[in-house]
């Protein structure tokens, strides 16, 4: 079984890959996202569906071209359309004549047998303890990657030589890729953190701080969001991420019972409550809650990134407009589709950062 996994930043490139390699599968990663990936997706996906579906479809086609015969996806049960992605992609790829098996992991519902079959295939005759071990390693990688990336967001606007943060990060990640134990992952993480600390200009304390919120995939996949985090960093902005893979994995695997039963209302949902008391699927409610919290914590602004036609984020966008007005907290909503160009984006980011800067200056003067 030659498995391919859609690209999602370093998370799939390192952690997901390591999980399946350690279970003894041959993993064929799709080539890095490129213009071609996007073009393939756009050509074969339904015209009005959201951007993530198109790019992942492109990943699958490029993975199949490289010889994969098994496609790995996660599913779900709505209300946003993500839950029906895998099924739609499977149909499209079959109609294009590709031969493959699609393994779409989700909480079983009326299709328990399919899911058991999938798990059986992925377990690959390994013992349960091997599975746990591989999973723990992959999980440690996920946590380390996200911690390092977040730290890099603090370092980049303070680096003395442009580009050094990215270099250090990449060096750390290429070691991380080969890590064989949780301890090793931890060691690499600590070392990379130290390296990042070293290049910081400690004099730069009071930078513009922006919360990055929005749809999961667009927020986390740098090719898709045109590397928005790095761009902001070079504009001297410290970015704080509002989206993370970790809660998403636990809820997708329905591991919530590990954390004490039913899903509880977290601080983010609670903050969203006066404006959006009900979940609307995807990251809709967290987007609103994170904006409220960011304003309370004195950040300078927020950027919401969403794919064109995204259902939960359009609800969130509507609500966030009100939040932004009420709290006098600037929010920039960026809508991505296949035509989104890099130049236009840079102009808008620069204008937004200028606005935040002058607002901050005014505040200091009065």
């Amino acid at each position: 079984m030659k498995v391919t996994i859609p690209n999602l930043g370093n998370i799939t490139l390192i952690a997901a890959k390591s999980l399946f390699v350690n279970l003894g599968h041959e993993v064929i990663m799709p080539p890095p996202n490129s213009k071609r990936t996007l073009d393939l997706g756009v050509r074969y996906a339904p015209e009005y569906c959201c951007l993530p579906l198109k790019i992942v479809l492109g990943n699958f086609i490029e993975g199949l071209e490289k010889g994969a015969d098994t496609l790995l996806m996660v599913g779900g049960w709505g209300p946003c359309r993500f839950g029906y992605y895998a099924e739609t992609q499977k149909r499209i790829l079959k109609s294009l004549g590709y031969k493959f098996e699609m393994i779409s992991l989700e909480v079983p519902r009326g299709n328990l047998l399919h899911q058991l079959h999938y798990v059986h295939r992925l377990m690959n005759k390994n013992s349960f303890s091997t599975l746990i071990k591989s999973f723990r390693l992959a999980w440690a990688q996920v946590v380390a990657i996200e911690d390092l990336e977040q730290e890099a967001l603090r370092t980049r606007p303070r680096e003395k030589i442009k580009g050094e943060t990215t270099k250090i990060l990449q060096a750390g990640f290429s070691l991380m890729e080969r890590a064989q134990s949780v301890e090793e992952v931890e060691k690499i993480k600590q070392k990379t953190l130290k390296n990042l600390e070293r290049i910081k200009d400690q004099g730069k304390e009071d930078l513009i701080k922006i919360k990055l919120v929005g749809e999961f995939y667009v927020a986390l996949e740098p090719f898709v969001n045109h590397n928005i985090e790095e761009k902001l960093g070079y504009l001297g902005v410290e970015v704080e991420r509002g989206v993370s893979v970790q809660p998403w994995v636990t809820s997708a695997l329905n591991l919530n019972f590990l954390k004490g039963g039913q899903k509880k209302e977290g601080p983010v949902e609670k903050a969203a409550r006066p404006y959006l008391p009900h979940s609307v699927g995807g990251e809709g409610q967290p987007t609103v809650g994170n904006v409220v919290l960011a304003s309370e914590r004195g950040l300078d602004g927020a950027i919401q990134v969403i794919p064109f036609t995204c259902m939960p984020e359009i609800v969130a966008e509507t609500v966030v407009k009100k939040v932004s007005e009420d709290l006098d907290f600037p929010v920039l909503t960026l809508i991505y589709d296949e035509q989104t160009g890099e130049e236009g984006l840079v102009t808008r980011l620069e204008a937004f950062v200028d606005l935040l800067k002058s607002k901050k200056l005014n505040r200091c003067l009065t």
Partner: protein, 329 residues
């Protein structure tokens, strides 16, 4: 409470539940004011007050709310989450009251019961009874009013269903008389899609009356029994989890299987459900080459002339195909 007015926007799920809602509210002694059918002005109001990314039906809803808001004491905008196991409404219904409150102010207070049967089997009823309590303290009146409204609602939906075998009586695949060149036959065409597209003749640019004028016998998902829809949906490898789209897809599969003459799928440009559901129906339709299939996509810029041309072309194609078939069999 004395005589007060509750506004019900004639948009979105009004087209599914109006009977239930209005009967219930009137039974409680409220004066119910339904906004007038969609017009250009109304749509413009909606387009102006909603963010541009939102789908056409929600913009239309905004327009109706705008037209009502100064005339009523309350607005009835339920938060429809889930009315059956395993399926939801789309995220925009889940956040509809909040979207309105965020972008339109001042608004009269909203009556916004959350309908979510996942919470308990009696949630649907309870949500209504809860609404009743905020209007009158007479609990017997509330209860009776709900039961009566629900009964009427069920009777009405049942009356519209096709009896088993009805479709055959419609003489599906009516043979074409060669010499008539297709004159005088009536085609069976199904219109599928969200009811707020199908039943709002302003939004669909009078599609129904156009088809009727052309002598088309129109079939809709309303005519297909719930049981039949569930049966058809079993054909999908993965169950669908949207209440509205289940009906659309189930009905489409049914009409395909019955090999009616044609199916038109009405969808809207920014609709999240339609983008995937349209793909499923399109692919399934390939399995039934004798059924003509097309999709009409609506947004606020769709022009009537374009729809006219496309309708004519679609009907022409069906007739030509039928003539061809009758010549070759």
């Amino acid at each position: 409470m004395g005589n007060f007015k509750i506004g019900v926007p004639r948009a979105l799920l009004y087209y599914e539940y109006s009977l239930l809602w209005i009967d219930f509210l009137e039974g409680l002694g409220a004066e119910v004011i339904v906004s007038s059918p969609t017009t250009k002005e109304l749509l413009d109001l909606g387009v102006k007050s909603a963010i541009s990314e939102v789908c056409l039906p929600v913009k239309v809803f905004y327009g109706h709310v705008m037209s009502l808001k100064d005339k009523v004491d309350f607005l009835f905008v339920p938060r429809m989450v889930c009315v059956e196991k395993g399926a939801y409404f789309c995220p925009k219904f889940l956040g509809l009251p909040d979207m309105l409150k965020s972008s339109l102010s001042p608004l009269p207070p909203l009556i916004e019961p959350t309908i979510d049967v996942r919470k308990s089997a009696t949630n649907f009823k309870n949500a209504f009874l809860e609404v009743g309590k905020s209007i009158t303290s007479n609990s017997k009146k509330i209860y009776c009013s709900f039961i009566q409204a629900q009964k009427n609602f069920w009777l009405y939906s049942a009356a519209n269903k096709l009896e088993e075998g009805d479709l055959n009586q419609l003489q599906i695949n009516q043979p074409i008389n060669k010499s008539s060149k297709g004159e005088g036959i009536s085609l069976n065409v199904a219109l599928i899609g969200h009811s707020y597209l199908l039943d709002d003749s302003f939004v669909n640019l009078n599609l129904i009356s156009k088809l009727k004028k052309a002598g088309v016998n129109i079939l809709t998902a309303e005519m297909v029994s719930k049981k039949e829809i569930e049966k058809q949906l079993k054909k999908l490898y993965k169950p669908l989890f949207w209440t509205l789209s289940k009906k659309t897809v189930g009905a489409a599969l049914y009409f395909l299987e019955k090999k009616i003459d044609g199916i038109i799928h009405l969808s809207t440009f920014e609709c999240g459900e339609d983008s995937l559901v349209g793909e499923i129906i399109r692919q399934e339709s390939h399995k039934y080459p004798s059924v003509a299939y097309t999709e009409f996509v609506f947004d606020e810029h769709t022009g009537e002339a374009g729809i006219n041309t496309r309708t004519e072309a679609f009907l022409d194609m069906i007739i030509r195909r039928k003539i061809y078939e009758s010549n070759h069999t």
